[in-house]
Structures are given as structure tokens and as C-alpha cells.
Symmetry: C2
Subunit: 154 residues, 2 copies
DNA sequence: CAGCATCCTTTTTGATACTG
DNA sequence: CAGTATCAAAAAGGATGCTG
């Protein structure tokens, strides 16, 4: 694998550099970022911030739904440290902290838009595929791993 | 948990659906899918399959890099159960199993394309933001910048 | 209200060892 | 080669108590 990542089809090819191959280094960085960003809560928070603009801590938790303060804080810190979210603290008596996307965060949110649209468009097909999927019935007593995703529909 | 989610207000295919109340149900399904798909290994595997088309098990593991057989198997099973990946077993002596994206999987891969492009385009800014982010806990003696005097909870 | 610290439970992941 | 099974380590996540 000499030619590293040619990422699908570069629609907007701004730097097709045949001679120089920043591939490997960029690849690492990109993967690291994917690892940080390809997270359930991250996507949901990003989404809510996109929809509501500036939101307070607790409110954000409510919007996301089902997230603990711990995870909310953690994910927000990560987003903040990556420059995707801006945190504003108001020195008022009942503490008030607003969160909003930065330009960078907004751009990521837009990038994720395609995934959301995909999910909205194809969730039916996925659900259908899940029901049609028969996890190869094997020997006796194979009940340890439910690695077939969340085989909740069973 | 609350279902007070009113997120779906963008490109909705729901709006053209008279006999169905979109929002809540779709929201749940979409979130569930995001939860299944917004995963590090999932994205990477999807990527490699997009790049290389049909790939064998071990080869795929090499391409992804840094993934254990366990996770590779698990993630592939999940992808398969969701109808995103097609698994082909050849009854030959040295077992051969090919993996390739389905139409659905390809569509998801394309949806993720935006995220990859984003990562390629902005990883520099993210790296920069990370270095500039100095919250409270200082790991080691880096540069001793001035006391920001902000709300330091130490 | 925001959020950190702590304890504890659940999940995830990695590292073998073992089959067909 | 392509897994499965199992154990141990690690991380994620939840609940609670405590600050300013």
C-alpha cells in the first residue's frame, strides 16, 4: 500500500500533489481526529449546538437527552480543547456557562450533516437489514457475546 | 429520559409524509444508527473497503492498522448485520472470506466523505487549537505562560 | 447552576489459546 | 486463514456528595 488514502473521490481537490505525498502524516492526524470526533455524544452535542446556537450547560444536557453530567462535561471539554466549541463563563451568582460552536465546530457539524441525512434517509433499510440478518447459529450455548450490534430486536 | 427532541427540522423527507408523525420516532432511529455508526473502527473499516473494494479479513486488518482480530470481527459483524457490508465465504482449504460494501454501505461511506474531507482540511487548525488549550491541569512543565487569572478551579 | 472528585458497575478492548 | 472462546486490563459510564 504505497498510495496512502485516496479518500474516495475528492470532489473538491485542492491539493492533488503527485510528487509530494503528505499522505502518511496526514493520515495519522486525520485518523486521530476521527477517533476523537467519531463519538456518539460528540455528534449529538454538535448537532444540538448547531440547532440551538448558544446553549447553557444544563439545557444542553436536556437537549441531548440521556447523557450524564460527567459525559457532557467530558465531551464538551474535548470539543473545547479541539477548538470546536467556545465556552463562555458569566461571572454571575447562579453560574452561567454558555456553549456555542466555533467556526471550526460549525464546519465539522456541516460535514456531519451528510451522515445525518444518510441516517434519516436509510434508517428504514438498516432496520430491515437487521431483522433479516441471521447471526450464524452455531454450536450450543453461544451466549456470551452480543457482538451483532445491539441485537435488541431478537 | 425525555423525548422532547425537535431536532429534525432540516432536509426532512418527513414533511412530505402526511400520515406519519416524523420527529420523535425518526429521531430515535436516527440516533440509534448514529450510535452504531459513529465509531472509530467503523469509519476506518468503511474507509478501507471504499478504497480497496473487496478485501479479505486479514488484509483488511492490516489496512486498518492497529485493530485486533476481535474488534475487526465484531465491527464487521455489526456492519454486516446492518446491511452495510457483504460477507462472502469461499469453501476453500485455506479459508477465504471477502468483505465488500453493499450499496447501502457505500452510501454511508459517501456520507462520511464530508467528515474525512473536513479532517483533511482542518486537522491543522485542530492541532493548533489543542496546543493553545490550557485549561487547568498542567501535565508537565511546558512554557510557563502568564497566569490567565481566569476562573481557575484548582 | 456548573462542575469536579470519588466510588462503583458496566462495556469495551487486547492478548492469548484453540479450532476447522 | 478466519475465526471463536476466554480471561484480564482498561475505559466508559452512572450515581452521589461537595464546592463557589
Amino acid at each position: 500500500m504505497t498510495e496512502t488514502l485516496e479518500r474516495g473521490q475528492k470532489t473538491t481537490v485542492e491539493s492533488s500533489n503527485p510528487a509530494c505525498q503528505p499522505g502518511v502524516e496526514v493520515e495519522m492526524l486525520v485518523r486521530e481526529m476521527i477517533g476523537c470526533v467519531a463519538d456518539k455524544w460528540t455528534m449529538l452535542i454538535l448537532e444540538e449546538l448547531t440547532e440551538h446556537g448558544t446553549v447553557r450547560f444544563t439545557r444542553l444536557g436536556e437537549l441531548v437527552g440521556g447523557i450524564s453530567q460527567k459525559m457532557l462535561t467530558k465531551t464538551l471539554r474535548q470539543l473545547e480543547s479541539n477548538g470546536l466549541v467556545k465556552r463562555t463563563v458569566y461571572p454571575v451568582v447562579p453560574p452561567r456557562v454558555d456553549y456555542q460552536l466555533t467556526e471550526l465546530g460549525l464546519s465539522l457539524s456541516e460535514a456531519f450533516c451528510g451522515v445525518w441525512e444518510w441516517a434519516e434517509k436509510y434508517h428504514g433499510q438498516v432496520s430491515q437489514a437487521r431483522r433479516a440478518f441471521q447471526p450464524l447459529a452455531v454450536p450450543s450455548a453461544t451466549l456470551d457475546s452480543e457482538e451483532t450490534g445491539g441485537s435488541q430486536t431478537y
